[in-house]
C-alpha cells in the first residue's frame, strides 16, 4: 500500500531536447516537479511553453533526453516500448482537446478499447463500459451512437468514460474544455472535480486561467522551465 502523501508523478531535472537541423530546441529545460496522489493539478502555460511535452512525459508517451521520470514509483527510463505501454495502460487515462474518439466505433465500443488492450472479457467490458458512461454522465441512449452523431460535450464525456475504463490512478487532460462552449466546459470540469474527490489524481494542462479555480495546485511553465 502506498501512503497518501507519496508522489504519484515525479520529475527530476527533466530535459527534452529536439534537434531541428543544427538547432537544438529545449522543449523542457530542467523541470523538477512532484505531484501527490489524489491531487488536482493544473499545468498552465502559453502555447510553445513546453506544457504539452511535459504532459507527454507524464503520460509515458515520450521519454526525456536526460533526467528522470517516475510514474507510480516506476522509473520510466528503464523501460522498453512494451513496458512503457503497460505503465500507460494501467496508470494513465487520457482526455484530449479534440476528444480523439475513433470515428468508426460507437460510444460504448470506444470506451471498451482500453479494456480490450487490457485483456478484459467481452461481457466484462460491456458491463464496465456502461458503468463508466454512467459515471461520465452520458445519457445511455447515446451508447450505440457514433461520435459524429453526438455533441462536443457528449463526445468529451465518452472520452472521459474511456479514460476511466481501466480505473487508472491518474487522469491526464489536455485542454479538456478547449473545444467546448463555456457552460459545457464548466460541466466537464465539475465532472473531473468529482472524479478527483473520489481519489483519482487529475492533471489538467491548459492555457485557460479559468480552469485554475478547480485545482489544488498550479504549476506554471514558461520556455521549458517551471516558474512557480
Amino acid at each position: 500500500m502506498q501512503d497518501l502523501h507519496h508522489p504519484i508523478v515525479e520529475l527530476q531535472d527533466v530535459k527534452r531536447i529536439y534537434t531541428l537541423g543544427t538547432n537544438r530546441i529545449y522543449a523542457l529545460n530542467g523541470v523538477s516537479i512532484s505531484i501527490e496522489k489524489g491531487d488536482f493539478v493544473t499545468i498552465m502555460g502559453s502555447s510553445g511553453s513546453g506544457k504539452s511535452t511535459l504532459l507527454n512525459m507524464i503520460g509515458c508517451l515520450d521519454l526525456p533526453t536526460s533526467g528522470k521520470v517516475k510514474v507510480n514509483n516506476v522509473d520510466l527510463s528503464r523501460l522498453d516500448d512494451d513496458g512503457l505501454t503497460a505503465i500507460r495502460r494501467n496508470n494513465i487515462g487520457f482526455i484530449f482537446q479534440q476528444f480523439n474518439l475513433i470515428p468508426t466505433l460507437t460510444a460504448i465500443e470506444n470506451v471498451e478499447i482500453p479494456m480490450i488492450f487490457n485483456g478484459a472479457s467481452p461481457a466484462k467490458r460491456r458491463k464496465k463500459a456502461i458503468e463508466m458512461l454512467k459515471k461520465a454522465d452520458l445519457p445511455l441512449e447515446f451508447a450505440e451512437h457514433k461520435p459524429n452523431e453526438m455533441s462536443g460535450g457528449q463526445q468529451q464525456r465518452v472520452a472521459i468514460a474511456r479514460a476511466l475504463a481501466n480505473e487508472p490512478p491518474i487522469l491526464l487532460a489536455d485542454e479538456p474544455t478547449g473545444n467546448l462552449d463555456t457552460r459545457t466546459g464548466q460541466n466537464i470540469m465539475k465532472l473531473l472535480k468529482e472524479l478527483n474527490s473520489s481519489g483519482t489524481t487529475v492533471i489538467v494542462v491548459t492555457h485557460d486561467p479559468k480552469l485554475e479555480e478547480y485545482s489544488h495546485t498550479t504549476i506554471r511553465i514558461q520556455d521549458g522551465e517551471v516558474v512557480e
Binding site: 505501454t85 478499447i113 488492450f117
Partner: protein
C-alpha cells in the same frame, strides 16, 4: 474473437469502397491466374489425350542387327505378364507403293492384329467411314487415312494395287477410312498382319510390338524391364521427346507470366494498406495512448492484409473457375484448331495452391505497412490531423 481482429474488421467494414477496390484488384489477378491455370491444365490434358494417349507408350523393336522379331508370341505373352502393361500389339510395318487409276503414292503399310492394335492405340475411334473389323473379316483389305484417300481419289470399296520391290503385288480393298487429324492420315495404312507377311513374303515374324500402360508416366521403367529381358524397348518420352518439351516450355512461360500477375496484385495490397496506414495515423496514435502495444498495431494491419488477401483469393478463384468453365463450355466454330471446345480443367489442387500462395503473398506484402504503422510516434500521431 481476438481484439486485433475486431479492430481490423472494423477498419475493413468502415471503408467499404477502398475494401471493395483492393479485394477486386487481388480478385481479378487471382481470376486471371485461375483461368490461365485451368487453360494450362486443359491444354496439357488435351495434348496428352491427342498424342500420348493414342501413342504406343512403349515400343519393342528387333534386337540390334536384326530386321525382325522371331517367335514373337512368346515375347508378347511375357510382356503381357509385366505389371502395368494393359495391352500389347505386335505388328509388321514396311514401305509400299500404292496405285489406283493413274494415281501413285508411297506410304507405310502396317500389318496388325486389329483388336490388339485398337487396345493399344484406340485405332477404332479414328474410323470415319466403313468398318474397322473389315480387316478381321477379309484377308485382302486395307484401312487408309482420309488425306491418303483424297490424294488417291480412293473411296470405300475401291481396290488399290500395292507393290514393292521384292514383294508380292496384291490388290487390297478399302474397308475403312480413318482421320487422326495428323500427318499420319497421308502416310500410314493398315492391313492385317497375315496380309502384310504375305506381301513381304516372309514367315510369321514381326518387326515391332507396341504397348499400352495403365500409367503412361511409367514408360521408361517398363521399357527397362523389357530391355533387361533381352529386347530393345523405348518409352514414348524417348521416341517423342518433343511432346514433353512442348509441355515444359508452356508450363515455364505460363508460370513466369502468372508470377508477374501475382506480384502486381501484391503491390496493389501494399499500396492500399499504405494508404490505410496514412489515413489512420491519428487513430493509431489514440490506440497507442489507450494502451495498445506496437505488436498490437502491427498485428492489426497484418490481419487486415490477410483478410483482404484471403477474400480476394477466394472470390478471385470462384470467379476464375466460373469464367474458365463457361469459356470451356462455349462451342468453337467447327474445324477450328481441330477442337470442339477450348480444353479447360479445374483441379482442386490448383485452387488450394493459388489461394494459399495469394494469402501468403498478401501477408508478406502487409509487413511493410504494418511495420510503418507500428513504428509511428504516438505523440506525433495523436497531434496529426
Amino acid at each position: 474473437m481476438r481484439y486485433e481482429l475486431f479492430i481490423a474488421l472494423r477498419h475493413i467494414i468502415a471503408r467499404k469502397r477502398q475494401t471493395i477496390l483492393s479485394v477486386a484488384a487481388i480478385g481479378i489477378a487471382v481470376m486471371i491466374l485461375m483461368v490461365s491455370q485451368a487453360f494450362m491444365a486443359g491444354f496439357t490434358q488435351e495434348l496428352y489425350s491427342k498424342t500420348v494417349d493414342n501413342l504406343p507408350h512403349v515400343v519393342v523393336s528387333p534386337e540390334d542387327g536384326e530386321d525382325h522379331i522371331y517367335l514373337y508370341k512368346n515375347i508378347v505373352d511375357k510382356i503381357n505378364n509385366i505389371d502395368g502393361v494393359v495391352a500389347s500389339s505386335p505388328y509388321l510395318t514396311g514401305e509400299a507403293s500404292f496405285k489406283y487409276k493413274d494415281n501413285t503414292k508411297n506410304a507405310v503399310l502396317k500389318g496388325i492384329l486389329p483388336a490388339e492394335e485398337d487396345a493399344v492405340a484406340h485405332t477404332r475411334d479414328d474410323i470415319i467411314l466403313g468398318d474397322y473389323d473389315g480387316l478381321t473379316y477379309s484377308d485382302k483389305s486395307i484401312i487408309i487415312g482420309d488425306t491418303f484417300a483424297e490424294d488417291m481419289e480412293l473411296e470405300l470399296g475401291d481396290n488399290v494395287e500395292v507393290s514393292f520391290p521384292n514383294a508380292n503385288p496384291v490388290s487390297l480393298k478399302v474397308v475403312a477410312i480413318y482421320d487422326t487429324g495428323t500427318a499420319l492420315d497421308e502416310s500410314l495404312t493398315y492391313t492385317s498382319l497375315k496380309t502384310a507377311q504375305d506381301f513381304y513374303d516372309i514367315e510369321d515374324v514381326i518387326n515391332g510390338i507396341s504397348l499400352r500402360l495403365n500409367d503412361f508416366n511409367r514408360d521408361r521403367e517398363i521399357a527397362e524391364i523389357i530391355e533387361n529381358n533381352g529386347y530393345n524397348a523405348d518409352g514414348w518420352t524417348v521416341n517423342n521427346p518433343e511432346i514433353l518439351r512442348t509441355i515444359a516450355i508452356e508450363t515455364v512461360s505460363n508460370n513466369i507470366t502468372l508470377g508477374f500477375i501475382l506480384l502486381i496484385a501484391s503491390f496493389g495490397v501494399v499500396s492500399t494498406l499504405n494508404m490505410v496506414v496514412m489515413g489512420k495515423v491519428k487513430e493509431i496514435g489514440i490506440l497507442l495512448a489507450m494502451g495498445a502495444t506496437k505488436s498490437n498495431i502491427r498485428f492489426i494491419f497484418l490481419i487486415e492484409s490477410g483478410i483482404l488477401g484471403l477474400s480476394g483469393a477466394v472470390l478471385g478463384t470462384a470467379a476464375g473457375i466460373a469464367l474458365a468453365l463457361s469459356i470451356g463450355s462455349y462451342p468453337l466454330p467447327e474445324g477450328a484448331y481441330g477442337l470442339e471446345v477450348i480444353p479447360v480443367v479445374v483441379r482442386i489442387g490448383d485452387v488450394l495452391r493459388i489461394i494459399t500462395i495469394v494469402f501468403l503473398l498478401n501477408l508478406i506484402a502487409g509487413i511493410y505497412p504494418a511495420q510503418r504503422a507500428a513504428s509511428l510516434d504516438p505523440v506525433e500521431a495523436i497531434s496529426s490531423r
